[in-house]
């Protein structure tokens, strides 16, 4: 085990994937000499050369579209979108091309493309630098969607995403780039749990708190605080948003009977809505109260000074926990 930041873990994952398979090539803006604006690709140009660490012109559709062509030729492109809010110009290439070519060709053309996206808010960034677009991609058949929450997961899931024959949209919480954790840099992929599995980060018995990405940290803080009040929360990190590991989710819900799903992304037709709908389909009879969502508001991402009111925090999570547990809460007395 080595203690590294999430950012360094991602860099190590890229390096290992490139050593393992010379068909792995990186594409993106500023990923060469600069090492990416977050330095994730730092040092890779020196080790692998400009043919494999490809600095691109400033055009997101071009980057992803070119990755499609490289995949046609048998490469495994790993694309870096510089910031979440800049993936939209590439949206057509991702949802209409990357996601569909395997299906259209009855499996004759594979699209093993990994699209890395520094993602979500909480860093006081400028406009378009804090978006949570995951639901768009979860809604698109043919894509896998992964969101990591810690260095070990980042290192392992990224290598798994690159090794996958399917396209993976890979969300990296930029708020956690500098967070440290233990990573087994020697671990083999064969021994690792599959990419699509959820993880119980903290076991508990009274209610299940389901989330992903940087919100896992907030959820764990909420679980600590709840424990002080004698409430035992189970925290689940989904890790994979397509597919969602409903077996793990349902096992937890059957145990606790109470559910809160949280994410930074806005609410309408979001991941939490889907997860709750699936839970009610699968284990309605185990539910002791209506599952709740805690999400960002249905607003454009607010200016940095206001983002703390948008992002679900500890207290909003605990309020929802109180509601699913029928404890006094912000709605107590309100007619809902």
């Amino acid at each position: 085990m080595t203690e590294v930041t999430l950012g360094k873990a991602l860099g190590a994952g890229l390096r290992q994937a490139m050593r393992d398979d010379d068909k792995v090539v990186l594409l993106g803006e500023d990923i060469g000499k600069l090492g990416g604006v977050f330095r994730i690709t730092d040092g890779l140009l020196e080790e692998f050369g400009a043919a494999r660490v490809i600095d691109t012109p400033l055009a997101e559709s071009g980057i992803v579209g070119m990755a499609v062509g490289l995949a046609f030729r048998g490469y495994r492109p790993v694309v870096e979108i510089q910031f979440d809010g800049f993936v939209y110009p590439a949206f057509d290439q991702i949802v209409a091309q990357v996601a569909k070519l395997h299906y259209r060709t009855q499996g004759r053309v594979k699209m093993p493309i990994t699209i890395r996206i520094p993602w979500a808010g909480g860093i006081g960034a400028a406009e378009h630098h804090s978006e949570s677009p995951e639901a768009y991609f979860v809604h698109t058949a043919g894509l896998r969607v992964v969101a990591v929450s810690n260095p070990e997961d980042a290192y392992r899931s990224l290598r798994q995403a690159i090794a996958s024959d399917d396209p993976v949209v890979f969300f990296e919480p930029k708020r956690l780039y500098h967070h440290k954790g233990d990573v087994d840099l020697e671990g083999s992929l064969a021994d690792a749990p599959p990419m699509g599995l959820a993880r119980v980060v903290r076991p508990g018995t009274d209610a299940t708190l389901i989330t992903y990405g940087a919100m896992v940290t907030t959820a764990l803080q909420a679980a600590d605080a709840a424990e002080d009040e004698g409430i035992s929360l189970e925290v689940i990190d989904l890790r994979s948003l397509s597919p969602v590991d409903y077996d793990s989710v349902a096992a937890s819900v059957r145990k606790t009977g109470r559910v809160v799903v949280a994410h930074e992304a806005s609410r309408e037709a979001g991941v939490a809505a889907e997860v709750i709908a699936s839970i009610t389909e699968r284990c309605f009879e185990y539910l002791e109260s209506a599952p709740l969502r805690v999400t960002g508001h249905d607003i454009p991402y607010p200016p940095a000074k206001l983002e703390k009111y948008h992002l679900p925090d500890l207290d909003r999570l605990l309020d929802a926990v109180d509601r699913v547990l029928d404890r006094p809460n912000s709605l107590t007395g309100a007619d809902v």
Partner: protein
């Protein structure tokens, strides 16, 4: 000498600014730029180009007929564009890889498509009509311009491997307004990728005239990206072949991308769902009838005493046979079983979809035994 031009015409349509070898009346003109690229083309080869164009026109007519008879959901005719498609595609080597748009029936024909390949996608049986690996042609692209980037990515791979291959992409005049096509030119130029861009300027993007997309000859844009270009008469099969050979030689020699604008005309509707009488006049159509690419080559061959009755009847028979096989393949297609809707979405198991597949299988199974 690199036959590079930067047109300076006033409008996007000035036909006299296109390079040609065969004039509309079938007479041959000396063209110092293009002639060297087709010096080897003898009468027998010209007859085979003529044969291909006749067969393509027949395939296209059969496609329209099949759609009118309710056998195809849609068809995108290419009548009038035979010289561009056959002339350029016949120059492409077997190892090269092509990224076409939906209108390139002639290109997949020239790459060796099977009769059913022309209709499978339009009939709605599969997402791609042909096997991309065997033809070395990507699925026909409906999103305007998206495929041009795929060609550049593919070409980048070729370049990294030092392979003796070129990627070729086809697109229309309307597509030149898309960001993707412009991004493709930038990327191709930045990486000196061995890719050939073929713009089939057929004058219309559904109802929008080419002048709406470009106030300047389209080929004139490429040099601005650092890509040499040629503007050829797209109804002159020899000029199209010569231009394509020039472009392929250029890319194959490691000198980076090349660009061709073939000035041609879409004689029929945009697709079988379109009504061109709403937006273009009969006089324009008539003027293009006089530039018919097949008639032009016929005139030339006839004048040279190379158009034998035998060739004509053999060609007619070959065209009829392809059409017959195409129709038989179309009518004989069997739609896959319902569960096939789930096939090929992912390369690896996906628990969400697998669950849905299971639910749907159980639902279908529930009918078994029900009286």
């Amino acid at each position: 000498m690199s036959p590079q031009i930067t047109p300076i015409a006033d409008t996007a349509q000035d036909l006299e600014l296109a390079e040609r070898i065969l004039a509309p009346d079938g007479s041959r003109r000396a063209n110092s730029r293009l002639d060297p690229f087709v010096a080897d083309v003898d009468a027998a080869q010209l007859r085979s180009l003529h044969r291909d164009m006749i067969i393509l026109r027949r395939i296209d007519a059969e496609g329209v007929a099949l759609q009118r008879q309710g056998q195809l959901g849609l068809w995108a005719p290419c009548q009038g564009q035979e010289a561009t498609q056959i002339g350029t595609a016949r120059a492409i080597a077997p190892q090269d890889y092509v990224f076409p748009s939906y209108r390139e029936t002639g290109v997949i024909y020239a790459r060796g498509a099977e009769p059913g390949d022309y209709v499978r996608m339009w009939r709605g049986e599969e997402g791609a009509g042909h096997d991309p690996e065997t033809l070395r042609v990507a699925p026909l692209q409906i999103i305007i311009g998206a495929q041009t980037l795929h060609a550049v990515g593919y070409a980048l791979g070729i370049r990294h491997e030092g392979a003796d291959e070129v990627a070729v992409t086809y697109f229309g005049d309307g597509a030149t307004s898309q960001g993707d096509v412009n991004e493709a030119m930038i990327f191709a130029s930045s990486y000196q990728a061995p890719v050939v861009f073929v713009c089939q300027n057929n004058h219309w993007a559904i109802s929008e005239p080419v002048a709406l997309q470009s106030q300047y000859p389209i080929a004139g844009r490429a040099p601005g990206f650092g890509i040499p270009s040629l503007r050829v008469d797209g109804n002159d099969v020899l000029a199209c072949m010569a231009a394509m050979r020039w472009a392929l030689d250029h890319a194959r020699a490691g000198r980076g991308p090349a660009y061709i604008e073939a000035v041609t005309y879409r004689m029929g509707p945009h697709t079988t769902a379109d009504d061109p009488t709403r937006y273009r006049d009969e006089a324009e159509l008539e003027s293009w009838r006089r530039r018919d690419p097949i008639a032009r080559l016929e005139e030339y061959l006839r004048a040279a005493g190379e158009l034998t009755e035998e060739h004509i009847s053999e060609t007619q028979a070959a065209a009829d046979l392809v059409a017959k096989e195409m129709r038989a393949a179309c009518l004989g297609m069997e739609t896959r079983a319902p569960m096939a809707v789930f096939d090929g979405v992912y390369a690896e198991p996906h628990t969400g979809l697998d669950r849905q597949r299971g639910e749907y299988a159980a639902y279908l199974a529930s009918f078994e035994g029900a009286a």
